[in-house]
Symmetry: C2
Subunit: 297 residues, 2 copies
């Protein structure tokens, strides 16, 4: 992973701009899950590290812009880049990271470059779709799944597929692995917003519902509620919840098994991800699924 950070820094250094270097030092590094995924699949390719660095740069750019769009002052418990340097710097730094990543991606074979850049187009469209869906109470499960596919899973799908291209595997198998992994990852993220404590998340629990995001457990809960409860649930949407209201939501979720059903769905996707690539017998692909699903932050 250190090698990846070094390659990313060298990309930035090549711009010959001290201000950009200084700002870049404050871009959060994240868990490098996408890089790990690429390195697990493209084990022998000499270009895997470079591809992983490009993808982490794209991911970092998308988070910088996301935090501006979501007015987020914190990211994983720490002050966000936009809170520290202002929204404008975050927009510009995001643009720099995206464009540097694309210019390095242009050095790769066409199929790799097309695969990843298509995913970024889906990702950007997914961000807009996330904002749109958060405007009013969405009860349409397929719209939610399509949004998280674009916003989260498309890039992970492209990571797995492009790494497979580098390694000479069938990229469709790995695209399916990555897509299901990405969907499972986002579903778990959405569950943790409900089940984790503020201390672990760095933001209050049930934050998503207040922000207008009707995630999978809420969709299950809503479907199971009777008309009266449906109506009450709607009144809580986008509200700062008091302890009674939070408790009511959590109680109803418990009654309907909304969390368990969502976890089960994520695990099913994880299983399908593994099935798509089991014949390759690659060490570590199961661990990535497990790490992404059985995490608490």
């Amino acid at each position: 992973m250190e090698q990846i950070s070094e390659v990313m820094s060298s990309f930035i250094a090549s711009l010959n701009d001290n201000k950009i270097v200084r700002l870049y030092e404050n871009v959060p590094q994240g868990k490098r899950l996408r890089a790990k995924l690429i390195l697990k699949i493209a084990k022998t390719s000499p270009d895997a590290v470079k591809l992983a660095a490009i993808v982490e740069m794209i991911h970092a750019a998308s988070l910088l812009h996301d935090d501006v769009i979501d007015d987020a002052n914190t990211r994983r418990g720490k002050e966000s880049f936009n809170a520290k340097f202002g929204s404008k710097s975050a927009i510009m730094m995001g643009d720099i990271l995206y464009s540097v990543a694309f210019s390095r991606l242009a050095e790769f074979p066409k199929d790799v470059a097309a695969c990843l850049s298509n995913a970024v187009a889906l990702l950007s469209a997914g961000e807009l779709s996330d904002v749109e869906l958060s405007k009013r109470f969405n009860t349409d499960r397929s719209r939610y799944l399509n949004m998280i596919y674009r916003k989260t899973a498309s890039l992970i799908e492209a990571c797995a597929a492009s790494a497979a291209m580098l390694e000479g595997y069938n990229s469709d198998d790995f695209a399916l692995y990555g897509k299901n992994l990405g969907l499972a990852f986002q579903i778990i993220d959405d569950i943790l917003d409900i089940t984790s404590s503020e201390k672990i998340l760095g933001k209050p629990a049930l934050h998503d519902f207040k922000e207008g995001k009707v995630t999978l457990p809420y969709l299950y809960m809503y479907k199971k509620c009777d008309e009266k409860d449906k109506e009450y649930m709607t009144t809580l949407y986008k509200k700062s919840l008091n302890s009674y209201e939070s408790a009511w939501i959590k109680e109803k979720m418990k009654e309907f098994g909304a969390i368990e059903r969502s976890v089960k769905e994520a695990k099913k996707l994880g299983y399908e991800a593994l099935k798509a690539v089991e014949k390759y017998e690659i060490d570590g692909l199961r661990e990535i699924i497990t790490q992404m699903i059985e995490r608490d932050f």
Copy 2:
């Protein structure tokens, strides 16, 4: 030009997202100067229209983000996209245009894709540099020229060079043409901020200086001022100027021939641009220079 708009719309339509299509209808079309440049150079290439559409998409994306960063409520006299739909929509729409452009660019030969994506990295870095230079009174001519090279000329340089690649010309010659054309274009833009009326520009004259931008005519003027006038000029920096102060600046510029010298410099760059490609005897390259230099908005 209509064909280019159609190709751009088809790129957007392929995202299958009605909201994006509706927002895209409100993205200003601009004068398509970069597209015209590409079509003039790559006269016989079947891919020229597609490349021109990609470049116009990149240019539109950069303007959407620029207007957010500059807090601009108008663009060429009309309400800006961010003023109409909010900064967040402008950020997201810019990201969508950039990423769609890059994903289409990945279908081009590597050298074309690398040339244009490198330019976008310079462009993004140039935007940051513009903001940095606007923080305090900059009197360093080379820093100003380096900034306008990155922010404006690099993309025009890449347009000319990549079109030359499509057509099988020596791309270095056309890069030099594009670079000098781009620098001249920006210098003229900066001059028009001083000499044009508010009615034509859609913003008050001397707007740049108020925004912290010390452009070429100001650099000339400052250099020629005596110590007392240098000091007075500095007190006017970033200020809303009253009519006396505006008149003083214009008077001093007249006294030192700051506008004439800047125009002369732009024309010299235009001449050097033409010299770089004269042996190709391509119709219209001179007209592009003339149109860009002898314009009033």
